[in-house]
């Protein structure tokens, strides 16, 4: 098959195009482009399908794992792809390492070396205990982040543009020095001993929680996998989508409570706003990706989305006449657990009529089939309710779903 590679302005990037076998993948195409251009290694290339002129839609990005044929749309002899140079790339590990090395090295410089002589402070510097603990806390934090970069994180993308290294390093290194300057200052005023202990203690707990969040995120991706998104769950992820950012923000709050500098709080505000944006973007992306259609799982609602559900139990005799009933509301995270809880309440209610045979009707097919045939439950929130139901069920009970 012949593949023409054009730039976004329509100019031919590779003269005469490329000839590839019919079974070639996008990765093969990228390799072939690299062989011809030398400069553009695969992660520098962004390949998309051409858009009709004037179209405002986003172009489809070619996935390197897929076969070229899947993008051919009937015509198997000719394919035109649009090439964009993403610029020099670095791996995410390199990027993170550079970001975190700055604060890890610069902070101790302010603690150990007579930096403040250059700012015009003469005489001996008395070091408060909180300044020493802050040094350990800070270095532990960035050491943890570097270790996690190499041994824990599994990245969704392999590389990032080189320019991000300069931007991110400027951010981390400047803020690191700015905070270090104030915390290690000769005229530093410490907070009370109790406040310091609360701050560092809370911060440390949050750092451990943050580590646990990173381990949970790591286990979402297989070691051989190439990125891809999964629904995070377990621990704090059942409450918020990005518990890793939540714990990171709170651990900085702990550090600031103990050290109390305006510089630290400025950093906290900036970091919080950046991470909030990332978290909102990720939440939107996961909700869009896991829409519950065509067999894709539905992204579960998080804590701000607890539902108020009305439960009504209607009790009829064998002629269909209503003989009793009950109604109340509960709070749930999603619909299925609400249905399961309704069945459990119905069983409790039915215990009053224990001498007669009972039929229970529910419109929750998944829940009913889970009870009747011991199928897997559709939602983690149901598990304890199901256990109750199994326990309450009399052997003659008949389940219907309508």
């Amino acid at each position: 098959m012949k593949v023409s590679i054009v730039s976004r302005s329509g100019r031919e990037v590779i003269k005469g195009g490329l000839e590839l076998s019919d079974s070639a993948t996008v990765a093969d195409l990228q390799e072939a482009i690299h062989r011809r251009t030398k400069k553009f290694y695969p992660s520098r290339q962004r390949l998309t399908l051409p858009l009709p002129p004037g179209s405002k839609e986003r172009p489809i990005v070619l996935n390197y794992k897929k076969n070229l044929k899947e993008y051919c749309d009937g015509n198997l002899d000719n394919l035109t792809v649009v090439f964009k140079d993403l610029g020099p790339q670095v791996s995410y590990r390199t990027l993170f390492f550079c970001e975190y090395l700055g604060p890890l090295v610069l902070y101790p410089v302010f603690y150990y070396f007579p930096v403040y002589k250059f700012f015009g402070y003469k005489g001996e510097r008395i070091i408060h205990p909180v300044q020493t603990y802050a040094l350990y806390y800070w270095c532990f934090h960035y050491f943890k982040r570097i270790m996690e970069t190499f041994f824990v994180h599994r990245f969704s993308h392999a590389t990032s543009p080189l320019s991000n290294v300069f931007r991110n390093c400027a951010y981390y290194w400047t803020f690191g020095s700015y905070i270090a300057y104030y915390v290690n200052h000769p005229l530093y005023t410490p907070v009370s001993d109790l406040q310091m202990k609360i701050g560092f203690g809370f911060g440390l707990v949050c750092q451990l929680a943050n580590f646990y969040c990173h381990m949970l995120l790591r286990n979402l991706r297989r070691p051989d996998g190439n990125g891809g998104y999964q629904i995070p769950s377990g621990f704090l992820f059942n409450i918020v989508t990005c518990a890793n950012y939540t714990t990171e923000i709170y651990q900085w709050l702990g550090f600031n409570t103990a050290t109390q500098t305006v510089a630290g709080y400025v950093f906290l505000v900036v970091a919080t706003s950046i991470m909030t944006n990332w978290a909102l973007a990720k939440h939107r992306r996961l909700k869009k990706l896991f829409d519950g259609k065509d067999g894709r799982p539905k992204y579960p609602r998080r804590w701000n989305g607890t539902l108020k559900a009305g439960i009504e139990i209607v009790c009829r005799n064998h002629r269909g006449h209503i003989i009793d009933g009950k109604g109340f509301t509960i709070r749930i995270l999603s619909v299925a657990p609400g249905k399961a809880k309704a069945i459990r309440e119905a069983l409790h209610f039915a215990a009053n009529f224990s001498s007669c045979p009972i039929t229970i009707e529910s419109d929750a097919a998944a829940v009913v089939s889970a009870i009747k045939d011991s199928n897997p439950v559709p939602d983690w929130e149901i598990v304890p309710v199901m256990a109750d139901i199994k326990h309450l069920c009399p052997p003659w009970l008949v389940f219907l779903h309508a």
Binding site: T189, T261, A263
Partner: protein, 221 residues
């Protein structure tokens, strides 16, 4: 309901733009008149009140962009208005020693001509729904000259104010204090000057791009 709201929006923006336009016209008139009658040393005292009022009113422009009343990116308006406010309050208002400098005149004249054109352009658009092409041309061409004069006056005034900042220590906060904070106005001013190095070419380039876009569009219509 939507009709009433859009009418209110137009009414408000019309009043806003023409009010600020009037403020800047006053600044220009007083500046030129004082320059002719009594010399550049007296220009600041003549224009102080309308200048402070008109320039501070620009804060509303950031708010307009934030609430979506107008379509202008905050990344373009914030640095521009921020630097203007810094000059108006942080330099001219705070350091009276600098007010007799000849750069005050070039600064005030550059600002006021730019703003008179800009606000009348927006004002026309709100009232008529379009702006005359000559005004459009002025809006996207005068900056070619007025940006360099305005920016060099700004930089020059901050530079000349530096010794007074260092000497007076005005607005400085020193350690030790409970919140472990310090602020040095002199260092802050040097940082501000530093931002002009990448900032000025960036803003000039941005305006050149806007000029190309706006003037080529008006030619096509």
């Amino acid at each position: 309901m939507a009709g009433v709201l859009s009418l209110l929006r137009r009414l408000y923006l019309t009043v806003y733009n023409w009010t600020v336009f009037f403020g800047w016209s006053q600044v220009l008139f007083l500046a030129v008149k004082t320059l002719k009658d009594s010399g550049h040393e007296h220009v600041y005292n003549a224009v102080e009140k309308p200048l402070q009022l008109a320039q501070t009113a620009a804060v509303l422009e950031i708010l307009h962009g934030l609430v979506g009343l107008v379509r202008s990116p905050i990344t373009a308006t914030l640095p521009q208005i921020g630097s203007r406010l810094y000059l108006t309050w942080g330099i001219l208002y705070s350091f009276p020693e600098i007010r007799s400098n000849f750069l005050v005149t070039s600064l005030v004249i550059s600002w006021s001509i730019t703003e008179i054109i800009r606000y009348s352009f927006f004002g026309m658009k709100e009232v008529l729904g379009f702006a005359p092409s000559w005004l459009m041309w002025l809006r996207y061409s005068t900056f070619l000259l007025l940006y360099p004069t305005g920016i060099s006056s700004e930089v020059g005034l901050v530079y000349f104010a530096l010794p007074y900042m260092k000497e007076s220590e005005k607005y400085c906060i020193r350690m030790p204090n409970k919140w472990n904070y310090s602020f040095d106005n002199f260092c802050a001013a040097i940082l501000v000057l530093g931002t002009y190095i990448p900032g000025s070419p960036h803003m000039y380039g941005y305006m050149l791009g806007q000029r190309k876009k706006a003037l080529s569009k008006s030619k096509r219509e």
